[in-house]
């Protein structure tokens, strides 16, 4: 009789606890659905605070991470998931949290961290095979870091994994041609405007040539008319200033050009990579 009594008490306690946790979850989920992400975060944290059940804690952790993602607080999501990965979840749950963390790290622009987290997965979860989504994220992170040769290998692995034909659609067959900043500086040092021309800015090249020539012309004519101080103070001063400015400008222009080319290439590649994992 006494055993029955204790069993009833335990059952009732269990029912109430589950009902309470379910209630908080329902509230949190409805807040999330209605776009009240901060309130939803608090509700999910309440589950983490009150509940010891791994399944409930895992769902709450994932819920909070989703809220942070919706609010574009990707870096905060990475940090938060890091604290959750420390706790004693089952291996399958930990894998899901790590998976989510990798996505958040990529969205936060932490490309080195993304790659590091992806590389750790086979050691931490040797039984789980690579997913196409994570393979795609790896390709995209490598692209952003301009490690295109490694990205090409990862892209081929992804294409094979999803049984896609890469012979016609391989974007890495033609990598963006990046120009040398040093070369631009050298060209502008010895030939005024040449660095700007190399960077694909003929207008700026012409302007650089005109202003430097004007300084030089003024210096020479002043010197020939025996205005030595004017030749030095204005002619040489103007020429020197515009020359040094031209060299620096050429470097900046090449840098901007390279960024633009890399960005264009990455945008095109991203589309193709996402097509593969659709």
């Amino acid at each position: 009789m006494t055993t029955k009594f204790y069993l009833i008490c335990t059952f009732l306690y269990g029912i109430c606890s589950v009902a309470k946790a379910q209630d908080i979850f329902t509230t949190a989920d409805s807040l999330f659905m209605s776009g009240k992400f901060l309130s939803a975060r608090v509700a999910y944290e309440r589950v983490l605070f009150t509940n010891d059940e791994p399944a409930a804690r895992f769902a709450a952790a994932l819920g909070k991470a989703r809220c942070l993602k919706q609010e574009s607080l990707y870096a905060s999501a990475v940090t938060f998931l890091n604290t959750q990965i420390q706790t004693d979840y089952a291996d399958s749950l930990l894998y899901q949290l790590r998976h989510e963390q990798i996505l958040c790290a990529y969205l936060a622009g932490q490309f080195e961290n993304t790659l590091s987290l992806i590389e750790r997965l086979p050691y931490l979860h040797p039984d789980v095979s690579e997913t196409p989504l994570l393979m795609a994220v790896q390709v995209l992170a490598l692209n952003e870091l301009q490690r295109w040769n490694e990205a090409a290998i990862a892209y081929r692995a992804l294409a094979i994994h999803v049984h896609a034909d890469t012979t016609h659609l391989n974007p890495y067959q033609q990598l963006p041609h990046l120009k040398s900043e040093k070369k631009a500086q050298l060209l502008s040092t010895f030939i005024p405007g040449a660095g700007q021309l190399y960077a694909g800015k003929p207008g700026e090249a012409a302007l650089s040539i005109v202003v430097q020539s004007a300084g030089l012309y003024f210096g020479i004519t002043s010197f020939l008319q025996s205005y030595y101080l004017s030749a030095w103070g204005i002619g040489a001063g103007l020429f020197g200033s515009f020359h040094m400015g031209g060299v620096r400008r050429a470097q900046i222009l090449v840098k901007q050009l390279n960024q633009k080319r890399a960005s264009t290439f990455n945008v095109q590649t991203r589309k193709q990579v996402l097509e593969l994992v659709k």
């Binding site: 009594f5 008490c9 009732l12 209630d23 975060r41 944290e45 604290t83 101080l229 004017s230 001063g237």
Partner: protein, 291 residues
């Protein structure tokens, strides 16, 4: 099943279900939750929980607890004005009074409200000898911020230089005192006169040697160009008038700049020391009270 068992069962049911159904959570639970969030550095969430309290329905001690945690979160987010407002609102009966008072006073000092800080620091609670020394240290720091050296000398008599949490900062505070007092007074008028005699010399005198050299070169160049125009083309020539005007602008500007340089250098010096003093006032607070 005996009557006792039935009774116990009913009590258990009541105990478990009523709170769940009514969805009421006590202040203590909510406050613990907010504290847990604060410890996790989930500041937005903790602030949200604290803001949800109905302030009217709280007791005085509950209001104190909320004010303390709200102030602490604001302090951690470096919202010092908000932090001092909340921390200094905590009443003496609260267990958080001591910590709130010290940190609230520090937040005020950081906002350069020295008179208010001084008034609060004079009445900071000192339950033991360590905190007595801490109070003297904080007041000493404030005296240095106000450049009241005699007051600092009086307060530093309470420094033991042996407390683990204070000794290094006490020694550094003494060094700041010496550094502040050894600063040489620079006159803006003298800086201007020096730059009038030799362009750029006033800035060197103010302690900005590189700026002095940088100011000397354009003034010299303009002067030479004006002289060349005068010598070759005469005083009525466009070359002389143009370069002469430019020279005058650069020359006068340099004199004006030299007088300002003295003030700029003095402000930089003071700001540098103020930051060091405030930083060192902060370390013992964190070590002794940040629990």
């Amino acid at each position: 099943m005996t009557n006792f068992h039935y009774w116990l069962l009913l009590v258990t049911i009541e105990f478990l279900t009523i709170p769940a159904l009514c969805q009421t959570t006590s202040f203590s639970q909510e406050w613990k939750f907010a504290h847990y969030l604060s410890d996790k550095e989930a500041t937005d969430e903790a602030t949200f929980v604290l803001q949800a309290f109905d302030k009217q329905s709280l007791t005085d001690s509950q209001r104190d607890s909320v004010a303390y945690l709200t102030g602490w979160l604001a302090y951690r987010e470096k919202l010092l004005s908000e932090a001092s407002d909340h921390l200094l609102a905590v009443s003496p009966s609260s267990p958080f009074y001591l910590k709130s008072r010290y940190f609230g006073a520090y937040c005020l000092a950081f906002q350069r409200q020295y008179d208010s800080t001084n008034a609060i620091m004079q009445h900071l609670p000192v339950p033991d000898s360590t905190l007595l020394e801490l109070r003297a240290f904080e007041q000493g720091g404030l005296a240095l911020l106000q450049r009241q050296y005699e007051r600092y000398d009086t307060l530093r008599q309470h420094f033991s230089y042996s407390s683990y949490a204070l000794s290094a900062e006490e020694k550094r505070m003494d060094a700041y005192r010496l550094g502040l007092q050894s600063r040489k007074h620079r006159s803006p008028v003298l800086a201007g006169l020096l730059s009038a005699a030799i362009p750029g010399l006033g800035k060197v005198y103010a302690g900005k040697s590189k700026q002095g050299i940088a100011a000397f070169l354009p003034v010299l160049t303009m002067g030479l160009l004006a002289w060349e125009g005068y010598r070759k083309d005469g005083p009525a020539s466009l070359r002389f008038l143009g370069f002469g005007s430019l020279f005058t602008v650069f020359y006068v500007g340099n004199i004006w700049g030299s007088t300002l340089a003295v003030k700029v250098r003095r402000d930089e010096f003071n700001r540098g020391y103020d930051n060091k003093i405030l930083f060192d006032m902060h370390i013992p607070l964190r070590n002794l009270l940040s629990r």
